[in-house]
Symmetry: none
Subunit: 521 residues, 2 copies
């Protein structure tokens, strides 16, 4: 029986503070679902007191049935001189309806006096009374001890008093934060160890930032010192140099040190989860990332590869399969074979891993991934691909031609994007045209207008998100473009993908898949 460590993900809260990261409510729900599947114990998902988008997100959480994860709403202690029962920010926090909450408070004396501009005693009262009030509302409470390590170095007694105030208030977990990211593993180990010894009845957590490129080592050191909650984000997304990277911490703790952090059978989902979050966040996935990057198990040819095949441990510290990644000699599929087979068998349960159809699909997948396709977050396109290759797909229409045009300045103050299209359905031609907000929108409208006569159910479908990424930014104008389109109807949402050197062509491919998927449902 391995010692249990709780993974505490804050991608959607602290991670979302990063420059250029902005999650829609729909994005957040998709990520929560994915983290729950992976088996993350706690998901700190937002700050209901700070913005209306997070409030809507917490309302919509009821739509999800979670199996592993407990959702945490995040807030702060009450204000200086205030009563927690009368604090509107705390009222929002409670009204989010989560079983657990996290609140941050000051533990560095300097921050209490110079930033909060209050007395050291008042700061302790704020911590103690806020937590006591939240406990009285029936919440599990995590106390995020902001700047704890810097505070401890400056005034160890006061930092410990702040934790003691949290414990007196009834805190369930003391999460020690290296807020500025400036601490080193030896200090983190010693200080965490002292906290664990001083508060034996309370869980201790660790929250690190990567400003010295030590966040993973610091998190591991804290767990070795007795911390049992480890906070971080997927891919280390976060402000400045990022938060501690759960995609390295979780396998480090579980595969290398023998802790149990997520259900062992889920470890193979690590790579696909990491890629999924990169796609949803619309950031380039770090292909050099430990464990989950495409280069993590890439080997150059020759003797080296022979040696790896003969005995992987000779050149690999863990096997790529163990984290759902794969060994690469040249370019090859990113997803594990077992995952792909699972998807194929959803469509045709008679196939197994040795069926020629399976091999052909895996070959095709490799080709497409080589071209820049990425199916982790576009499963609907993958399903259509499998159906096509198994002969289980009939196209709903045939394109004869489209033309899209844009001009600026536009006549009469309208941006003049327009498209016309001619399609062929059931032996009939149909032509239509539309104006739109850009050529893709115009094309989308024109295509639907042409199709709706044949497929009236398309009226209830809408395009809900549209993302574009340049794949090889070094190659400038020769770069490929990857488009992800998210669509929804009354009951579900689905994502499709297109890749091309031309953004309109890539959009067209994703759009056609989106419509075909709806019609195939």
């Amino acid at each position: 029986m391995n010692a249990k460590v709780f993974a505490y993900d804050t991608t959607l809260r602290d991670g979302a503070q990063a420059q250029g990261i902005s999650f829609s409510v729909e994005d957040k729900l998709r990520i929560v679902r994915k983290l729950d599947e992976l088996g993350i114990a706690y998901i700190e998902a937002g700050n209901p007191g700070s913005n209306p988008k997070d409030l809507e997100f917490f309302r919509r959480l009821d739509e999800l049935t979670l199996h592993h994860s407990k959702i945490i709403a995040f807030g702060s202690t009450c204000k200086v001189g205030a009563n927690p029962a009368e604090d509107s920010q705390l009222a929002s926090l409670v009204s989010a309806g989560t079983p657990a909450v996290a609140i941050f408070g000051k533990t560095w004396d300097y921050h209490a006096t110079a930033i909060l501009r209050t007395t050291l005693e008042e700061n302790l009262r704020m911590i103690r009374e806020t937590i006591a009030w939240l406990k009285a509302q029936g919440k599990e409470v995590v106390f995020d001890a902001e700047h704890f390590f810097d505070g401890y170095k400056a005034n160890a007694n006061y930092a410990m008093e702040a934790l003691a105030a949290a414990v007196e208030g009834g805190a369930d977990c003391l999460a020690l934060c290296d807020t500025n990211g400036g601490s080193f593993p030896d200090a983190i180990y010693k200080i965490t160890h002292r906290v664990v010894e001083r508060f034996p009845g309370v869980a201790v957590g660790i929250h690190c930032h990567n400003d010295c490129e030590l966040a993973v080592a610091n998190s591991v050191a804290a767990v070795q010192a007795g911390a049992t909650h480890v906070q971080g984000t997927i891919n280390g997304i976060g402000e400045r140099c990022g938060n501690a990277n759960l995609c390295a911490i979780v396998p480090n703790l579980q595969l290398k040190l023998g802790f149990e952090v997520i259900p062992p059978e889920n470890m193979q989902m690590l790579t696909s989860t990491a890629r999924f979050v990169s796609e949803v966040a619309n950031v380039e996935h770090n292909e050099k990332a430990a464990y989950v990057g495409a280069d993590a198990f890439a080997h150059k040819g020759g003797m080296h590869v022979d040696a790896v095949n003969k005995n992987p441990v000779s050149y690999e510290h863990v096997t790529p399969d163990s984290v759902g990644n794969s060994r690469r000699v040249l370019m090859s599929e990113v997803a594990g074979r077992a995952t792909i087979l699972g998807k194929i068998r959803e469509i045709d349960p008679t196939l197994d891993k040795d069926s020629p159809e399976t091999r052909a699909i895996i070959e095709r997948l490799k080709e497409l991934e080589h071209e820049g396709y990425q199916f982790e977050s576009a499963e609907s396109s993958f399903e259509l691909l499998v159906r096509k290759m198994l002969g289980k797909f009939t196209p709903s229409f045939e394109l004869k031609q489209f033309r899209a045009m844009v001009a600026e300045p536009a006549l009469e103050g309208v941006f003049n994007s327009s498209a016309m299209i001619k399609i062929h359905v059931d032996g009939e031609d149909e032509i239509s045209a539309a104006e739109g907000d850009g050529p893709v929108n115009a094309l989308d409208k024109a295509l639907r207008r042409a199709l709706e006569r044949f497929y009236p159910q398309l009226r209830e479908m809408k395009l809900t998100d549209y993302k574009v990424r340049v794949l090889d930014s070094q190659m400038a104008s020769a770069a490929k473009v990857r488009v992800l389109i998210e669509s929804a109807d009354r009951t579900s949402s689905w994502t499709t993908i297109g890749v091309s050197t031309d953004v309109i062509d890539a959009s067209w491919r994703a759009l056609v898949d989106a419509i075909e998927y709806k019609l195939a449902k």
Copy 2:
């Protein structure tokens, strides 16, 4: 007097093994010059026995006058059963003419027997005799103990015997390699400490890889255990997950732990050196990198920024100046007036917070953020906005009209995106047209073609990234689109933004800002 640690850079040797990295002889000479200026003690610059390009590089080294760095040529022990004096690879190594050489050898018993296919005794002879022969040629010799930590874990006695053979041969330094990158700081510390105790007369070095995202922590732990040579690469460039990153290790050791690694007055060159190597290697600089990324000292929000200005240590573990980086305050609606004022005063120092111009800019910023602009990652657009509002901006051209067209299927298999444009510069009209990968690319090309006659410096500018986000995905077709364009020339990169209901219009705005910013520089 601080304890001395020798920085040992292997960007040009082990770093150059990374996928997609290829240095010309000229590139290598430029990097050597830069590393010497920074004060790196050892530069492992290539493998003269393995390729003619490296041989030419070593010949041309005479062109440089180095002040701080000793160049190291890299090779391996002699072959099984061979005499070092008759080994052509060792002859090349010596003929490189460097004062010091590094050779790698096996220290993991499994690798000696299964990969080299020899006896454990023969492997020891190869190490001992190779080093003895190189010493007889007058070289300083570093022994790279390949797979040392894995070897030690498998057979500690044999791993130590291999080091003893190197010491008997006369090695000046024993560089302990975590070749597979699978070790943890506690193990690195303990094992390094044993080596330091066992071989008191010999320098001990450390060479780590980042497969567990622990390479920086491991390198620091080894130095804390007594290692005095620390190997790594600039920006952590290297195979798989990369080598240990000197850009984090050097300031960690010197600014945080008090070792002397490079001359203290050179620490401010760290950021520019890191950017220089990214540029020469033609890889995207990691803006989230510790110490040397543009985001490393980026701050959001009002009160937070006030606190940093008042006392940097409250939210920064070191000052950005100490590594030649700079503090960035991200422009956003949560940024306080002080933040925005700071930016405004960079352009016009006579303004203060009560100036009508300042108020007008803040009002305009709020309006634009309400429309969906986000300046925190598009400071160049913000700077242009301020210049425009202060009457300190003259547009470089005026748009008369553009038209962009897309058709599919395209004629002759080319995706038919094209654009034509008419602009007005200095009393002259210019018209041009271009094909492109999508309408934005076609527009970009057509616009530059038209402008280059007037502004030849635009030839050195390239578009390096293009990102699109739908802002309100719930509103479907009425949604706004935010486009971020990242551009670069030889010395810097900048990001501009455009927001519109039409993706082409948004792209156009970001594109015009990108060009105007370049021309205003």
